[in-house]
């Protein structure tokens, strides 16, 4: 497998990481090098093998539906780049 520059830009958009035209070539070469390593997996016959998502086969633990955490809104907003009136500010989304 070998990624094209267009594919690299498409993945970068999916990941919301801007890649300049000058960086794209190097990025493609690095990724292709890594995928060469990854491709070793394709030679393995894994038919019938159940995918293993996690080290411990546990079902998700549930807790009671009650409030356990204290209000930390002020502390959490204090570290945001931009807030106003208790809200996080983002650039205008709807014209």
């Amino acid at each position: 497998m070998s990624l094209t520059l267009e594919q690299v830009q498409r993945i970068a958009h999916l990941a919301r990481i801007e890649i300049s035209e000058s960086e794209a070539g190097t990025t493609r070469d690095h990724l292709n090098g890594i995928f060469q390593l990854i491709e070793q997996m394709q030679a393995v016959d894994t038919r019938g093998v159940e995918p293993m998502a996690h080290a411990q086969e546990l079902s998700q633990r549930l807790r009671d539906d009650t409030v356990t955490e204290a209000d930390c809104r002020a502390a959490c907003q204090a570290i945001a780049p931009e807030t106003e009136g208790g809200l996080y500010l983002v650039p205008k989304v709807i014209e």
Partner: protein, 488 residues
Amino acid sequence: MINKSLKQLGAALAAKEISSVELTTLFLDRIERLNPEINAFISVDRERSLTQARAADARLAAGQGGPLTGIPIAQKDIFCTTGWRTTCGSKMLADFVSPYDATVIARLHDGAGMVSLGKTNMDEFAMGSSNETSFFGPVKNPWDRQRVPGGSSGGSASAIAARLAPAATGTDTGGSIRQPAAFCNLTGLKPTYGVVSRYGMIAFASSLDQGGPMAASAEDCALLLNAMCGFDERDSTSLDRPVEDYARDLEKPLAGLRIGLPKEFFNDGCDPAVMAAVQTAIDQYRKLGATLVDISLPNSHLSVPAYYVIAPAEASANLSRFDGIRYGYRAPDYDSLDDLYMKTRAQGFGAEVKRRILIGAYVLSHGYYDAYYLQAQRIRRLIAEDFASAFKACDIIIGPTSPTTAFKLGERTTDLVKMYLSDIYTIAVNLAGLPGMSIPCGFADGLPVGLQLIGNYFAEARLLNAAHRYQAATGWHEQRPADIDLNG
């Protein structure tokens, strides 16, 4: 004092030979003097550490101290701390101050009464094997300052090796405790997945990440693990198990211990000088009464490829939270919300982190999920099953921690695959979720060699026992770098 073990320091504090404030000052002074050259710490706050030390002294004076109360420790900068900033080695979090403490920090500090000396340097978001991906610059290996300390817990390793701290916390997703421990002549333990809480430990690959102790000896690691571990309802993968004393079996004789030697770890991919030290260690184990068993982990060569699908896939999801909205870096100029995301992430992440996010986004994308992500998860099961079969014939598995000793700074930054293969013996352990250790086992051309010990699930006490008996018989772990000033 700076060369003492945690047990000895605990005894000195209990006997009032030294106070926690004096001990903390001793290490803070060393950090001030030696850190500018080694770069092991990202953040130090003398007053904050001394405040903790005063509280520890008060606790000791009131007779409410435990075995670790008043002893200083360095914290990997992946653990959220109130007070100190938590950067995770990234520009993205360069000014981030967490509103809460990680469970590991709370247990060591509030629970055990240990004193934090500061936050240690690391590869950005723990993605690296040399500490060279840190936004805060590379860390030097105290054994040879032209060489890397390993990664990603390289700052923690370097700090202990230079005796800027008697112990440190680390995290291990693919070898990030064990490989730097090997490169810096330390003892490091990655516990069974789920034993140490991940709450407040910044996520890289959630199904693989596990925190653990790094120190000079197995005995010290046992004491630290006792303080770090335990069920935490705030971590959905934390295991609710009975409390164990991990130091309980330290002195147990090794007679009858069955040690498995996987043939795949003893091939020509390993540096002959490293292999020679490992073979000598195996002979030592035989002298200590262990029986050697030849085993095979036939799929272990697939662990690196599978890891570089699974870990980036999980990372791409975990790191999507860094969007410039709620905390962390935000690009100064942008013309839309999408542009804000794109530029913030382009400027806030370093090259290696971006590469891994891109790999993750690709293997999870439509049309590639089955061929890459599911295939990697199937191989992960094969790897875990290899270990399950092996542990029918042996109690622990032994081999090299890394195929080479510490390499030179800059040597592998352009050869990514060579960098990734530095973790070829450690990654399978994370995929299976097993406990693993690295202990010093000698030197090759003056550089430390690490011996890896792998146990079955929850066999930490057995690993620590095997490590401790070896350390009592050999003393490799007591060797210190020649050109580090160990006075004062």
